[in-house]
Amino acid sequence: MSQHASDLDFEHDGHHQGGGHPSVLFYNIIAISLFVVTALEVGVLYPPLSEAGTYFRVILLIVLSIGKFAIVVAFFMHLFFDAPLLTFLFAVGMVIATGTVAALINVMPAAEHPLQPRGKPKHPPVESATPAPHALLEWKNQRPS
């Protein structure tokens, strides 16, 4: 019984790097830095910048959120301290998911690239014309070529 119990305990498990899980203080520091990054993210929105600044802001936002993502996964989810196998498992999903999302966004015939700044005015309101279910024939493609 006790033998199994010790297996569950991280401090004694040879597979875990770093020899033990972090202290509460460490968690608090991580949490505070997460709050700071989130505040930064929101803050990025507000200073008035030119068109060129848009790209800067997009890149900054992406970098910041990747950072947050990495911090939570590495420390809150213990991946940094845990067996590399688990990192591998998660990485398989993340890599394929990221690649697929990127490929999908680029291969779709988007009206505009989803990560590009849009021109204004954006969407002139068009007449709403949802067809009644039985009026099949009126249901035509409304998109101008």
Binding site: W139, K140, N141
Partner: protein, 346 residues
Amino acid sequence: MNRWIKYWQPMLAALAVSGCSLSGPQSTLDADGPVARIQYETFLVTLWVSVAIFAVVGGMFLYCLVNFRAPGGEVSRDYPLPDQGHGNPLLEIGVIFVSILLVGIVAVPAVYGVLYAGTLPEGQKPLRINVTGYQWWWKFEYPELGVVTGNEAGIPVGRPVEFHVQTSDVLHSFWIPRLGGKMDLTPGQDDWLWLQADKPGVYWGQCTEFCGESHAFMRMRVVALEPEAFDKWAAHQKEGVANTKPPAAINKFQCLACHALRGLPGGETGNRGPDLTHVGSRTSIAAGIKENTPGNLKAWIHNPNDLKPGNIMYKQGYIDMWQNLMHVQLTDAEENELVDYLTSLK
């Protein structure tokens, strides 16, 4: 490129040993236009690379099966083991390199073919035709010529034709096998393809994206004409109906609510069904599924559902309008009259 054709075609014909004709009206192996030809050639490259690999690997496979049988078909457990080789790294690396090389051989023509078929040719200005797919027929519009026709399109020989495809309802796919590959009709996209016919003739086509109950009966024909003949044809198609004395049945059954008979009062607007202004001049009816003979036409008018299950001429025209609203049926005499009239619309 033409040299290739001369070279490969007899070999392929030799391959086609089954004795069945491979030159049906929709055969992709009889390329009658530059797009179909380039696609056929890239296919041949892949085919012969495959045949070569098959000869080598399949040969080895067969050699193993013939030569490395267990003595007597079955061996006891204490029979001496064969060599317990685990693999040969050099061979493996060789195989990988050879396959990369072969993939390269196949890939280059493929990419060339994609670019060729996906780029409008320089030089001659292409003829533009807008194709609209309906469940289950085709509308062809010639914006530059002001011509509208259904299920049968005339094109000039030797001039590229730019087909812009769009759908009025579900997905369809526009395909004239002898002239070139297909293009799906997808809502929300402006897709096009170009085709060109080398010689005059009637080219059959068919919808190849599943589009509902009568998907099998969504066919079409493209008629390639010499340039002068094409101009004459287009000019004639532009005119209104020749026979301006329609039978009473046309009004009685409100054919013009869906079909256009240009030149008749109220006959300009119907656009749910094919344009009938020159229906008598077409070679086929009901989206290419029957030859245009009076007998077939009568059968079609008598019960469209029989030839093409679920079509809207039957569902909305016959069932809704005739039976639910007007409670009338076509008599035999009216059907004959209608057939005579439509046949006269050359």
